[in-house]
């Protein structure tokens, strides 16, 4: 039986989490693989946390924050974006595929956009797992 991927989504309180809340109220469906962790701002997520999540068994990690220029702590999401760069670059150094990490921006009134990002991430990881298994079988 195929196992669903497990995705940790760090959502900032002011836009991303509010959008997730609205998605729930509007009864939008998104994959059950998403586990939301609310943080005050996307700029709070240290790259160590992303790698920690992967090491502890998550298949993918998302950081979701406000649109550029709309962070409630002014520069938090700029810092998050710079960090997203180094996370993407060091993933392969640490033996993970780049597809396992995603940074996304949404506003609190864009639940569809958030749900779409969740779905895309879920599909990407499923594809990644299929490739990995195909690769393992081909090697055997």
């Amino acid at each position: 039986m195929k196992k669903d991927p497990l995705i940790i989504a760090f959502c900032c309180n002011w836009c991303a989490y509010a959008a997730a809340d609205l998605a729930g109220i509007s009864r939008l469906q998104y994959p059950g693989s998403i586990r939301i962790i609310r943080v005050m701002c996307s700029g709070m997520v240290h790259p160590d946390m992303v790698f920690h999540a992967l090491e502890k068994g998550a298949d993918g990690v998302m950081i979701v924050g406000c649109h550029p220029g709309e962070c409630h702590y002014i520069k938090g999401n700029e810092i998050a974006l710079a960090r997203a760069d180094i996370i993407a670059e060091t993933l392969e150094d640490m033996g993970w595929e780049r597809d396992r990490f995603q940074m996304t921006h949404v506003s609190s009134s864009e639940p569809e956009r958030l749900v779409q990002a969740f779905r895309d991430m879920h599909e990407r990881l499923e594809a990644l797992h299929q490739n990995t298994f195909a690769g393992v079988e081909a090697n055997e």
Binding site: P47, D48, D85, I86, T90, D93, M94
Partner: protein, 304 residues
């Protein structure tokens, strides 16, 4: 107190340079005091004591054992297992033992590639003598292979700190490390304004050599890749960090601030969070030059 047996100390070195042991000998007046209180049962740097066996190493029983160096070969591994069996308390001494240290730089290549590069003849074949112990696939820190009771990083650890750890463990206490970064004991001037690009250390930092180091601007803020923020402090004892005393940037030799931290990731994070362009660091893997064990430095993927 005459009848009380002196605590027995045992020292072995694995993939090490002897600097850690020399640091202990460098502890000045505290050394003779210490030597009067302990019995040294095994210490290759000081005492000629034969311990090789046919299969196993016959090490003497000890109360506290110190291992310096990483675990790089089958021989190191056998020696380490023997040490663990014979010592009640085991301490990993120095960054090589706690985080792999400089020898773990080879973890980016296979053992075969290392042999070919380092000992290769003109045709690229390794030329080491056949009786050299087989290399492990990579260099491991001591705690990756056996249970360790206390980790004392530093390349080498500060002499006072080594003596403090020995004396505390002798009385069954729990030694304490500073637990802070190099920056916390650095007196340079910080303004919060960073140079936006990384400058490599081809030019000297800006400072007035007639002025004390307290008058110098933080080297990281000057744009040099000073690893102070991501490196465990203590190298200067109660005084200024050693490299900063010499007005050069910290290279990271005490390993990460949290024992399980990742100096590469943490340093890039420092730069990214301050808007510094980290792409100028083409050799970013070298930020793990002292802490490549624990699987942090890995085989570089084939580029072809």
């Amino acid at each position: 107190m005459k009848d009380k047996r002196r605590p027995r100390l045992s020292f072995v070195w694995l993939h090490a340079c002897s600097g850690c042991e020399i640091a202990l000998l460098n502890s000045g007046e505290r050394l003779p005091e210490l030597l009067n209180k302990v019995e040294i049962v095994h210490f290759p740097l000081l005492v000629d004591h034969k311990f090789g066996g046919e299969q196993e190493f016959a090490l003497p029983e000890a109360d506290i054992g110190f291992v310096s160096g990483g675990v790089a070969s089958e021989e190191h591994l056998a020696l380490l297992y023997s040490m663990r069996r014979t010592c009640r308390i085991l301490v990993s001494l120095g960054t090589c033992a706690t985080h792999g240290g400089v020898p773990a730089l080879r973890n980016r290549w296979t053992a075969a590639a290392t042999l070919e590069t380092v000992f290769g003849d003109t045709s690229g074949r390794a030329t080491v003598a056949a009786e050299m112990p087989a290399l492990l696939d990579r260099v491991y820190s001591v705690d990756e292979k056996v249970r360790v009771d206390f980790c004392l990083p530093g390349c080498p650890p500060h002499p006072e700190m080594i003596v403090h750890v020995i004396e505390t463990l002798m009385t069954d206490g729990q030694p304490r490390l500073p637990g802070k970064s190099v920056c916390e004991t650095c007196p340079t001037i910080r303004t919060g304004e960073m140079h936006r690009t990384v400058r490599r250390f081809l030019n000297n930092a800006e400072y007035d050599s007639d002025e004390p180091v307290e008058e110098m601007r933080c080297l990281l803020e000057q744009g040099f890749l000073c690893m102070g923020p991501v490196t465990a402090g203590g190298c200067g004892g109660l005084s200024v960090p050693l490299c900063v005393q010499a007005r050069v940037p910290c290279r990271g030799c005490y390993g990460p601030v949290r024992p399980e931290g990742n100096q590469l990731l943490d340093m890039l994070n420092v730069l990214a969070s301050h808007g510094v362009d980290h792409r100028a660091i083409v050799d970013r893997q070298s930020l793990l030059r002292f802490s490549g064990a624990h699987g942090l430095l890995r085989l570089t993927r084939k580029t072809k």
